[in-house]
């Protein structure tokens, strides 16, 4: 089908203004952010201590034993659990393994280049693992198939497909939601053959002990506390704070990287307060499944 040619002129003044603002943002990111914060608003229209909306979908990936797709604002993470079988360690014959990893591939942002995991991805994977260990999401002995012989290994792999900042909070939701969605086949260890055989019909949901949630913050120029920073804001922050809470809102960990405070108030305490309020509010929606 052939199309006709339009005659009107091309660019509107609105387009020109948008481009001018974007150009200023690109050339002078710090001043750009300062001007917004001076008006107590973020470039995306949020209040300073306001986090972005969260959506969670689970179970759509049939090749995984459990899966989730999480969006935190525009940051998007898919996570899948693959269960394999291994021999337990000699000193802990009844304990299985959980292996969480986050990948930040080149597809998700111009900041990341193809190749092995970036330093940022390594740091995030380590922090996620620590949150897993600290909050005891799963009792590792519940992954035992046969003491000393066979245990489950849960590979929990999260991949970011759109990076718009604060991957930690989004990844933690994705990992926990995928585990909560995980069903393992009923497995039997045969002492004669030394093989573990799984049922094709019977699957059992994983026993989840805890479903931690986190909330992260950044501090800009030692004055403004920004909740749930975007990829534009992140490089401009001098300090970041992450609060991890249990189901009941108890503190699992609070970490601060960077020395910046916001004047007289105790930053860590106010972050914990904000996180408690926010996470209590969003928890039912995140884990309704």
């Amino acid at each position: 089908m052939a199309a006709a040619v339009a005659s009107s002129s091309t660019s509107t003044s609105q387009q020109t203004d948008t481009l001018k603002a974007a150009t200023f943002q690109r050339l002078h990111p710090r001043i750009y952010l300062e001007r917004f914060l001076a008006e107590s608003v973020r470039p995306d229209g949020r209040a300073l201590e306001q986090a972005r909306d969260i959506t969670v979908n689970v179970g759509s990936i049939t090749t995984a034993d459990g899966s989730s797709l999480v969006r935190l604002g525009d940051t998007t993470i898919v996570c899948g659990v693959k269960a394999e079988i291994a021999e337990p360690e000699l000193d802990s014959p009844n304990e299985g393994y959980i292996v969480p990893n986050l990948d930040l591939p080149a597809i998700c942002s111009p900041r990341f280049k193809p190749g092995p995991p970036s330093e940022e991805a390594q740091v995030l994977s380590d922090r996620l693992n620590e949150a897993f260990l600290a909050s005891k999401i799963i009792d590792l002995s519940s992954l035992c198939i046969h003491s000393g012989k066979a245990v489950w290994v849960l590979y929990v792999d999260a991949t970011c497909i759109n990076y718009d900042g604060n991957a930690f909070d989004a990844a933690l939701i994705a990992l926990v939601a995928a585990l909560r969605n995980t069903h393992l086949p009923k497995a039997t260890y045969d002492e004669d053959t030394g093989l573990t055989v799984c049922s094709r019909r019977e699957r059992i949901p994983l026993q989840i002990n805890a479903s931690p949630l986190s909330m992260s913050f950044g501090i800009f120029e030692s004055t403004h506390l920004l909740a749930d920073p975007t990829s534009f804001e992140e490089p401009l922050l001098d300090t970041t704070v992450t609060v991890v809470l249990t189901d009941k809102g108890e503190l699992v960990s609070a970490t601060q990287v960077g020395l910046g405070g916001t004047g007289s108030q105790d930053v860590l305490m106010s972050c914990i307060g904000i996180a408690k309020r926010r996470l209590a509010e969003v928890r039912p929606q995140i884990y309704r499944s």
């Binding site: 339009a6 974007a22 150009t23």
Partner: protein, 185 residues
């Protein structure tokens, strides 16, 4: 809004009369004019184009903005972040170079790079060639080209006072730069 958007590969009806020149976003193959971009075909003068405002690579005659990353006695390196008024996404940039002979149009052989640019300055330039494998060649040899934003040694944003000096509002001291004539002056 009765204008039709076209998709890459879609034929475009050319009205009878003199054939238009083909600009961006369209091409001719086997006697048929087709779109190569998603957008609305328009006549700009006698040229048929489809314009998309997307980040693009510099080409000769592109106006670029970027910040000075490194200085040597013979050239200034520039990280290009805006091409023809369209900013590149965060994390993307092209490498440009302003060679000493391309800084200004007069007394080219007396140019001292250190008296024209400093690291961190934002420069407006014109792409003169695709350069070599590494960088695009940029000139600032025009009144409206040169440093458009610079911070003084005291940390304040300076104002141009002539085409080769800027003044710090904090200390009142002047620093040497190849300044661009501010717009609208």
């Amino acid at each position: 809004m009765a204008v039709d958007r076209v998709l890459p590969g879609q034929p475009i009806l050319i009205p009878k009369g003199p054939a238009p020149l083909l600009g961006n976003g369209v091409y001719s193959r086997d006697g048929t004019v087709r779109a190569s971009l998603l957008g609305v075909p328009r006549n700009q003068g006698s040229t048929l184009t489809i314009t998309r405002i997307t980040p693009r690579a510099p080409v000769p005659n592109s106006i670029v903005l970027g910040s000075v990353t490194r200085l040597t006695p013979i050239q200034a390196m520039v990280a290009i972040t805006v091409v023809d008024g369209v900013p590149l996404p965060l994390g993307e940039e092209f490498t440009g170079v302003i060679r000493a002979q391309d800084v200004r149009s007069t007394e080219k052989d007396k140019v001292k790079i250190g008296d024209c640019f400093r690291g961190g300055d934002v420069v407006k330039g014109l792409v003169i060639s695709l350069g070599d494998a590494r960088s695009y060649y940029i000139t600032t040899a025009r009144n409206d080209l040169g440093v458009v934003f610079a911070t003084s040694e005291a940390g304040a944003t300076m104002e141009p006072v002539s085409w080769q000096e800027m003044r710090c509002p904090k200390t009142g001291r002047t620093e040497k730069r190849k300044c661009a004539k501010p717009e609208g002056v």
